[in-house]
Structures are given as C-alpha cells and as structure tokens.
Symmetry: C2
Subunit: 272 residues, 2 copies
C-alpha cells in the first residue's frame, strides 16, 4: 500500500449492526449492500470495511456473500472485518481486488491463526493495540510498548513491516477514563513514527468514541476529534459515511493536507 | 504568564467592527461593552482582546474608555489590540490587571515603538510572523525563519523570551494559496518548540480563516480547523465567543487535554 499526504476514509457502513445490512444478509439480497457500497465510494471512501458479524453454523458463506454484494457496487479495496479465520479466508478467496485483514492483536489465538493468513497471502493487516488478554491499555506508554511487541511478532512471523496497520483502539468517552483514553490515542499516533523510525500506517474506528450514544451532539464531537486525529498524523479513519460532519471534516483535512483548491459550495453541501 | 495543559481562548468580541461595540464607543456608553465582556468570561474566555480601531484626532481616549468598560464587566486579563503606540500606552495606563500587547512585527516602525513598550512595562507581547514589509510569508519555512528573527530582535531589546507570544498569521481560505497557508500555520505551530528549544506560547486569530465570508458552513469549518490547531499545540486561540461551535470545540479539547470529566449535557447546550 502507498502512503497518502492526507487521511483516507474507510467506510464502516457494511456492518451487521446496520439493520439494512442485517436484513439484506438474512435474505441474501445483494442489492441493498451494493447500493450502500456505491454510495460510500461516491462520498469519497478509499475502501469499504465488511463486517458480517459472527458466522453461524448454517450460514457459513456470509462473508463470501457480503464480498460479492459489495463488489457489485464498487471496486474499492475491502477491509475484511472479522475475528474468525474461516470468515477471513472466505473473504480472501472472494476478493477480486485489494484486501486488508482487520485484524489481529497479541491475543495468542489471533497471533496463531490470523497473522499467518496475512503473511501467507501477502496482505496488509490491522494490528490492534490490545493487551494479550484482549483488554484496552491504560496509557499511551502502554500502547507504544504493545505496538513495539506487535511489530516484533509480525516481523518474526514474516510480515513485511509496511503491511502492518496499527489501530490504537479508541475507547468510548463514556468510560470512566474516556477523556484520558482519547488523549492517549492521539499521543500514540503522534509518537508512533518515532518508535518505528519511519512513517507508519494507523487506523482508528471513530464510532467507538460515542459508542451506544444517541445524543445529538455526538456527530459533531466525532468530527472534531477526527480533525485532531488528522493533525496527529492518522493515515486511515474508519467512519460511518452517513455521518456528514465527519465526512466533511475529513474532506476539509484532505484539502488542507493535500494542497487542493477550496470550495465553499462543496462544504455547504455537507454542513448545512 | 504560566503555561496551561490545554488551549486558552481569547475573546475577540470587543472589536470596533462589531456594530454593538461601535455604537457604544461612539456614544461613550460602557454598559453594552461591559455586558459583552461579562458574557465572554461566562463562556470560558481566559482573556479579552480589546480592539478599539484606529484613533481619531478628537477621540484620543478610545482605548481608555474601552478598557474601563471591559473592566466593568470582568477582571480577566486584556489583550491591547492596536498598532498605535499611543493607544497601547492608554491601555497600559488604564489596565487594572494583567495586560498583553497585541502586537508587533519585524516592520521597523513597530520594532522601534511597540516592542520597547513591552520591555519597559515587562508585559507579554504578541509577535506576528510577517515580513519586515508587513506581508504574509509564503511557507512554514519562511514563518520559522521570521520567528527566529523575532526572537533575536526581542531578546536584544531586553524582552524576556517567555513573554513573546508568536502569532503565525492565518490567511483567509479564499486566498489563491489559502489551503497551503492553513497547512503552513499548522506546521509552524508543530515545529516552533523544536526551533525555540522549548515550549513556546502561540496565538492564532481564527476569524481570519473565513474572513469576510458569510457562508453557513463557515462556523463549522472554523471549529474543525481549531481542533487541528489544538492538536498542533496552539496555546491561545483568538476567537469570537458567539461562534458556539468553536467554543464547544475548544471546550472539548480542554476536556481531553486537561483530563477533565466529560458531560454530554454540556456539549448538547453548545452544539444543538
């Protein structure tokens, strides 16, 4: 994967938690999923995350089906979002273009089953900065230590270090230490290039910030936090493309960081 | 002046371009100005910028009057915003609390008349990163060179380097190179600590970004750019406190950077 001068958007809209997607998956109707994927592409997404939820015994082909449906709507790269090696394997088989595995962590089962898939198929893979027991770290220092361990483990397994995309794991603001966690994620992204001795791909799932929250201020706070992530150097933001403020913010950041011409008309469409 | 862990807001509401202020100044009515100053304090401003416009022959005491009026509404520190040494002198005389001179640049007349006021009265002073001819620099490199020159000139004149507040001078997005200018200001703020060998106070006048623009998307773009300024390390933002999205954004940033508890109710008040 190449580096860009500005933050890329990965659409998280194809998620089993989206009722439209859930209905389409259940009925094996590709149309609604293809339509969402096409809309995300039109809004400027650089890739589509595909999260079909947990596999069930009787519907083993859910990832395959979702991939086919997405690819009927767009030829953008896809992020195969699952913790199940079987599902990831289906996705790799079915994928016509670039695939990214999303993802693994230091949890031993994931190091043993998911990382080797990335190595064998020479695919980029997202590495979550989680403790080996799957818990979220408490500080930027701990996140950076885990990043260093992840790099070690990946390199020893044979992964090209340029294929590791680091996700510092954003926690909800509603956690007791939610604001400290939000600060820690920003600090981690700022510090990672120094730790790695080079620029490094990073990914943050923005919706975690306001997870489960329906407050009308949530979309705006997400957009403001996204602006800080862009300034901290984030390379990939996983966002819901229906959140127009966040999409507008990312576009504004790409105009600034990509030295593109500015148009008021464009931002009025998003923001008013 | 002490350093804070998060960006401070300076209210730019007391400005002769605000019709309410202009009418009050003309009629020498302190009430409306005191009321605005009090409202800015209640919204969380850390200081009040006082910009009475150019002096006129028959109303030499305009800065004195404005200062008295502001101080009837709040005891916050004031930024004396004028390029006229006489006006600045009035402000210093009239000021009961902390004053900051706003400001000077490498323009020879300003180095000769405004900088000495700061040195003589041991006051912090804003230094604009402008060319000696008063023009806006073209790049971050040029801004950093000018910052180095400003530091030299100030130190030689006897200013405590900790009393220099650097303003990289934000240009309007509508300029031909507006987006490159916006990127350059962020880069300058990120790089200044390295140039100075220490943390350094910085100030940006946010309203410059959308200067003269009435588009409904302008307040939101200001807020998003402000989030990036906070992440870049800006210490002081000069903003209009009636721009509720920018105020909310600054408050959100202070919650994150100051490790303060988060409240949805607070942000709903600002953002909905």
């Amino acid at each position: 994967m190449e580096f860009h001068t500005y933050m890329q958007l990965i659409a998280d809209d194809i998620n089993i938690l989206n009722p439209v997607v859930a209905r389409a998956v259940k009925a094996r109707e590709a149309g609604p999923i293809a339509e969402i994927a096409g809309r995300c592409a039109a809004l400027g997404a650089a890739a589509i995350d595909v999260n079909p939820g947990p596999g069930s015994r009787d519907r083993r082909d859910t990832m395959s089906f979702c991939l086919q449906a997405v690819q009927a709507g767009t030829d953008l790269p896809v992020y195969l979002d699952s913790s199940e090696p079987d599902m990831l394997w289906q996705g790799i088989e079915q994928c016509a273009g670039q695939a990214v595995i999303n993802g693994f962590s230091l949890e031993p089962a994931k190091v043993e089953t998911i990382l080797p898939l990335a190595v064998r198929h020479r695919l980029p893979v997202v590495g979550f900065l989680l403790r080996p027991n799957g818990h979220v770290p408490a500080s930027a220092e701990e996140r950076l230590q885990i990043a260093s361990d992840l790099l070690d483990v990946s390199t020893r397994a044979g992964l090209d270090p340029a294929d590791l995309i680091i996700d510092p794991v954003l926690a909800p603001l509603s956690w007791n230490d939610g604001t400290a966690q939000a600060a820690s994620v920003l600090e981690t992204i700022r510090m990672l290039p120094e730790l790695c001795g080079t620029r490094v791909r990073t990914l943050v799932g923005l919706s975690n910030l306001t997870s489960g929250v329906k407050h009308p201020a949530a979309p705006m706070l997400e957009a403001m936090y996204l602006a800080r992530l862009a300034e901290a150097g984030l390379s990939h933001a996983l966002i819901n493309m229906r959140r127009s403020q966040a999409v507008a913010c990312a576009r504004f950041c790409s105009v600034i960081d990509g030295n593109q011409p500015f148009s008021w008309a464009e931002f009025e469409r998003y923001l008013t």
